[in-house]
Symmetry: D3
Subunit: 149 residues, 6 copies
């Protein structure tokens, strides 16, 4: 079955928005358990209180993982993507605290052909913002797309 | 309290190994629920059976998240790290299937000073390998360390 | 082995009570992940703050699911039930908020025979009440029972 | 902000399809823990082996909960729905086993106005089908929609 | 409100039985995540294959925790217990594997009064058995009960 | 491969410390679901408010399970342990509340040889302390170790 959307449908400079999700203590505890990351800044209230942040922070890789999920759930890409190739330039820009609400702004940053005309590679810039519109993470997400031939 | 370890204790070329963990259907289902990534290649056995892989695959970002957790649990760095700065060059090198067992090889790849002599930045190359010693993901993990002064 | 209880042991008008359970942020996050229901009224604190309810609400189907579990755990029916046939007249009567504590009142509402004298169908009315004794959900739960012959 | 879709956009007889999801042992164990339903037919392999089904079955209310989630994730309704009013005629039509893959067919079954011209009530028939296209559950889902005025 | 049952209702030598539950890969993964016990014998299929057991084992403390839960759910004690005082003589008697089904046999082992005639201490011997009726764990569970005065 | 550590490396009187972890509502809800322990003192805010404690308490067996996980994660024992033999003298010394942060102090309490000179049995006393340095649980953990021969 032909895809309903193709990489051709995305143009450099296009911007997409996802829904938002509030980060809770449950996210931290479930994340630690699934990924084995029990670093005290996330799991130990007393330790975190003495850190420069004054409270427990949400794990950075969880922000990345939720960015991927929020974009997927938003459905921009339909079934146009073939494969996830990787990530570049992932940067934590600010702390994410329990109770913060994040969403993702996606910008089509770069498109390039491959040797196969039916496949193209695109770099999408994900910027994760909190409820105050502060950017807390950014990263380049690289995808292989179906192209119209 | 002074850290028990410092960035000075790591030298370019040093190699560290983590324990291994087997990826299960539970990892996939719990991951999808926590990160909102219900893409059919991970969640729909019938869809996956018709894909080039023939079966459900483990989510790529979960491999990254577990790499972070496995390295943290291994305790190489003690309390020498101050902050996680980001990730570069994350690449999926091969599929990870339910029942595969992964571990991480860490190589100290690059060290550079900052303006503050008490802090240094290092790039650690994480290579995730499966039970057949095939590399399935690689990435550069960038950390700020306490340096001896 | 003969059941320890039979449908004959329940009479129209009988009332049963379950224990109570407090609904937490954890219930919402785990429920969303298991059932794929990330609707912003449940998951996005900022969105919910602007809604008529002013805060995140617990998913309605979770109230139903817990009603089933609370009644099962209470053990009224012993092993007298053969099968769950369905539900009718399920209605949300009021919002359930994080921190609310719910319990179920069960009333035997209707009994009817089947062609097989060893089996009877009963409708049990479940009314879910919160800590203020407000009814928040009601539904008719239809079960097939073993009958004495 | 005006909704992007209205109840007016759905007509009696319209049919919508969701993505599919495979039910796993993890779904059963996590569901039991969240909803307190540890009935042996779901949790005890030895008991289930002696039942008429010969193996553990997936909890019926989980099928309902996933139907709600699958439809929400599919995004047919956009932000046109105001509230969930209830469910009628929910019936288990066949057993769901570990490893089965379910999806939902939605049919707009009935539309009726309310006293408020900006609000309308609709009944959507959800039919849950497995990988063999067998119907395993059906139910009428009743929603209040924004109507164009 | 007076308790419905009292410690007086249990006599040395009384035996009680719980329902059974099948242990799954999900139990192991969720347990590890909640309790931080990622020991390779439980989590690494390759490591376990080379151990004397040949496969991953269920965590011992999970068997204890489920014994407590199975006895509580069975409801023998009603609301007669005031407090849990501790455990003695907990012994692993045999390995528990993924797919095994466990239940608990409870024997009232010892009763003694306290200075307060309204309170008595009892030791209940829990024996956890698998689907082959092999004992896999035993322990003495010590409880304070309400006594009739 | 020879173990990196042996039972010989631990001497009676040695003291070890683990990291700490904060107990959250998520721990209680996930624990109840995994172990079937929905006792109202843990799960029902209204019931707990009327108890002598005035609020929900963390399940005692969860404190034990986390003690095991915290000690394992701390890595004192390396791979010197062969098997877990059991527990003695487990006692709840005080209530643990949501928001409390616990850690474990381990003291090597007793060492004894076995008939096999390559194996020795040791009793390690675990004392669980909260953020106020109050002891909330203590227990004797019995392990079989590899011994140098």
């Amino acid at each position: 079955m032909a895809p309903s959307k193709f990489g051709d449908d995305f143009n450099v400079g296009d911007i997409y928005h996802t829904q938002a999700i509030t980060l809770t203590e449950t996210h931290i505890v479930n994340w630690a358990g699934l990924t084995m990351d029990f670093y005290p800044l996330h799991m130990d209230k007393e330790y975190a209180a003495k850190s420069q942040f004054g409270e427990r922070l949400v794990h950075g890789p969880l922000i990345f993982a939720l960015a991927v999920g929020l974009v997927g759930t938003a459905g921009f890409a339909g079934d146009s993507a073939i494969a996830w190739l990787g990530v570049n330039n992932m940067k934590m820009l600010g702390p994410v605290r329990i109770g913060d609400t994040i969403r993702v702004e996606v910008e089509v940053k770069e498109k390039r052909p491959t040797k196969n005309p039916a496949q193209g590679v695109q770099t999408w810039r994900y910027t994760v913002k909190n409820q105050k519109d502060e950017s807390v993470m950014e990263l380049d997400y690289i995808l292989m797309f179906h192209m119209r031939v």
